[in-house]
Subunit: 478 residues, 2 copies
């Protein structure tokens, strides 16, 4: 009864209040629950199962490229964090500090890792001596803590789960290649698994990771026209190696500084899925990442043979997809709403009439299209349909992004778009930080990236009018 | 050259100094590296790969029994930790406290979770209302922190990786069943995967987990005759539910307190593997858990056709086992020592003579037995041999334990065994905490468990001489 009631409540519509729609979805699809610590959440089974699917695929890709998993401690002594100047300036204001162990005050306080460059550097200094020890291609799956003021589930939380790759190489060229290679892994994963198109590019100096020589990014566009930085890959040059005094003897018997990279993706990707595909009925999950791809719902389950048939079909199709049957005594209508809220890609309905006709009904979550499918064809039709849904979601997201991407040749034009049309704005930039800051102040947009795929929009900077040869994506961002 | 030198160094022998042997192995097999934070270590790729294999199998078993993974925050507010009296008394003295977020002092300090009962209780209070919401069978894979004074890699570290299961049930009976079921999952895993026999039993009141009504344990015997508590499973009754005011409406429409369990296993299992199977040449890994099961070493690799053949065999057998080829320019002798140190179960040697004879040499790590095997039979012989090694390790450990398990009918006898014969001591106990404390003081042994499999050794308590009907395992422990 309590549950029946719950599902009748509707979620806020996107158009009415996008932020509220988002938090309604994360709560009602049972992805998270809040806790008594602000900005720290419980990731519930359904949310965690999505993360496990993301992990499984990314981990497979990382390992196929020769990366190995390790695990660093969660604590960084203050003196270690302080070793690289830019890095500490970027992170020190937002770390959580441990000052007591039991009843004793620590001699040196420890921060809970906000990221682990310093720990990896300390470790590399211990284990890298010769060119034979290079490269090291390491990754870890852990949680990190950043003491943010404003928090939102998945998008900006004080603790979040992520993977952080950290690699160290004999040459700058090899490290640069690794940086771009991993950005491409992320981009391909987002497009192929999350059905989410991304813009690949490099960040401006202002937006770079603290301590990096270059930060590469993939930027996605959410339903509300805001950009979401979805993963980043950093090239460090030998800056960290010099700060931590990591040196190796090269083949020519000379001592040299190695070159490093790091790259990360987080549970923020779950936020990206929600805001890319979700609708006013709740979550919509791309089949490749959905914990349950097909939910089987018996209709008129009290009638002879229905439950048995539904169970038989479930067992059969479990060989070709991730399937779940709901045999609870809730009404079919309640169940339809429940699994729509949870974004299960396909619903299979089976009732007495269907059984008579040797068929069932398949309903797509994304567009509610119905298909009558012969029970003999389920093993071939379901994978096909899941594939169609996966592609359909990508195409829809791509079309939406195209509709929400604008070009601006003048400052007035840019300001007008920024004020009235949510989305990406492509515009030329002279390369000065001044213009970047002015656009933020005047039009409320930040630079998202200098995309790899450049276009010529004008000859001059959209801000200062000086000659410009770089096209940038600008936008409001999460 | 640097590497060649490294492997010539021998490790301390077990008989000379077991503790030093242990730390030599964890370092030289490249399982861990120390960091600048005492008690916090880097788990290196080879060590982490063992943990991943443990995780994979346990996670599969948990899920097969209906458990779901979740993720709780790492921080517990002091007021939340304080809610269950026994629990806070047990853990507060050894937690790490976060007192600052960035530059601001926190209003309430937060401890880094030493275990997550309190967090799960807070969550269960939020999501459990009706009997329909029960049971919840949750687990999480995270790291926890306990500010120990004395630390040793894997065995007792300030941060360690583990899984913690937390379940909540409508009835005491169901919760008790779950507690014992999960103990059996751990015991079967240790025996079947880690080739490590364990004694299953229940802890005395003195040794119970803080807040539990009963703590079940599996106890293994290490090479040096010390016991290692390898996993525990706790029955909480409704104590936590009452402390956290978790109630549900039962089928009879009455408000009731639910019953809870928790159960955990940690990276300590890696320490258990090392100290159960290792020898004076290093690590010995049970095949089922070894990251690499077979290492292929080309002999006289400069001769025509050897490398190609070695690679061809590697590709072939990769279909039946986890195999790695070492084509580095280190000498075969160096490689033999290296993979013995790392405990790879089987070594495959292939040289020009072997190729001529259409055979190769397989060498077992555990007893160095050599087998000449026809190249045509590798796909059948290797899995068979791995299976033989797995069983052999278990049998050897079982025999060693039998040889190191003693019975004592009197206090003098017990004291004599405790002083002179490392191992388990079986003896009767009257049930009083006084006798337990006296045995600790007088003979230096602690109660390991009251085993499920009872034996009748005498009619009276080994300590006080009063009537006793419980047989206990006593021992020195890690």
């Amino acid at each position: 009864m309590a549950q029946q009631k719950k599902m009748v409540e509707e979620i806020t519509s996107m158009e009415e209040d996008f932020a509220k729609w988002y938090t309604d979805v994360v709560k009602k699809a049972e992805l998270i629950e809040y806790t008594s610590v602000k900005g720290c959440m419980v990731i519930r089974p359904y949310g965690y199962a999505i993360w496990e699917n993301i992990q499984k695929e990314l981990d497979r890709e990382f390992k196929a490229l020769g990366h190995e998993n390790v695990c660093m401690p969660m604590f960084i002594p203050e003196s270690l964090l302080n070793k690289e100047k830019d890095h500490v300036e970027g992170f020190a204001p937002e770390v959580a500090w441990v000052t007591y162990g039991g009843n004793e005050k620590l001699e040196e306080r420890l921060c809970v890792r906000p990221t682990s460059e310093t720990l990896f550097c300390e470790h590399y200094k211990a284990i890298v001596q010769s060119y034979r020890d290079l490269p090291k291609l390491y990754n870890q799956w852990v949680s990190v803590v950043r003491w943010e003021k404003t928090t939102r589930p998945f998008l900006r939380s004080r603790e979040f789960l992520w993977q952080e790759g950290h690699t160290i190489h004999a040459t700058a060229e090899e490290a640069r290649e690794e940086t771009v290679r991993m950005l491409n892994v992320y981009a391909d994963f987002c497009e192929n698994y999350l059905a989410m198109p991304v813009v690949k590019g490099v960040k401006t100096e202002k937006e770079r990771f603290a301590g990096a020589e270059d930060t590469y990014t993939i930027e996605a566009l959410m339903h509300d026209g805001k950009a979401l930085q979805s993963a980043t890959s950093h090239y460090f040059g030998d800056g960290f190696a010099r700060a931590f005094d990591i040196q190796f003897t090269d083949k020519d018997n000379k001592l040299k500084y190695p070159f490093q990279t790091s790259w990360g993706s987080t549970t923020r990707l779950i936020g990206a899925i929600i805001m890319t595909h979700g609708d006013n009925n709740g979550l919509v999950l791309p089949p490749k990442i959905a914990p349950t791809q097909v939910v089987v719902i018996p209709v008129a389950a009290h009638k002879a043979g229905v439950l048995e048939k539904a169970q038989e079909l479930t067992d059969r199709i479990s060989k070709v997809c991730r399937v779940k049957i709901d045999t609870s005594d809730n009404s079919p209508g309640w169940k339809f709403a429940e699994y729509e809220m949870k974004g299960v890609p396909l619903r299979l309905e089976i009732g007495p009439k269907d059984i008579e006709n040797n068929q069932c009904v398949l309903v797509r979550r994304d567009n509610r299209e119905k298909y009558f499918v012969s029970l003999d064809d389920l093993e071939t039709e379901i994978p096909k349909l899941l594939d169609t849904v996966q592609k359909g979601l990508y195409e829809a997201a791509l079309a939406r992004r195209a509709n929400m991407t604008y070009s601006a040749a003048s400052l007035d034009e840019l300001k007008d778009i920024a004020d009235n049309k949510p989305g990406f704005i492509k515009a030329m930039w002279c390369g000065s930080r001044e213009c970047e800051e002015k656009l933020k102040e005047y039009a409320g947009v930040s630079s998202r990236c200098i995309p790899f795929e450049q276009e010529h929009i004008a000859d001059t900077c959209v801000c200062c009018g000086k000659p410009a040869d770089k096209m940038l994506y600008w936008g409001k961002a999460y």
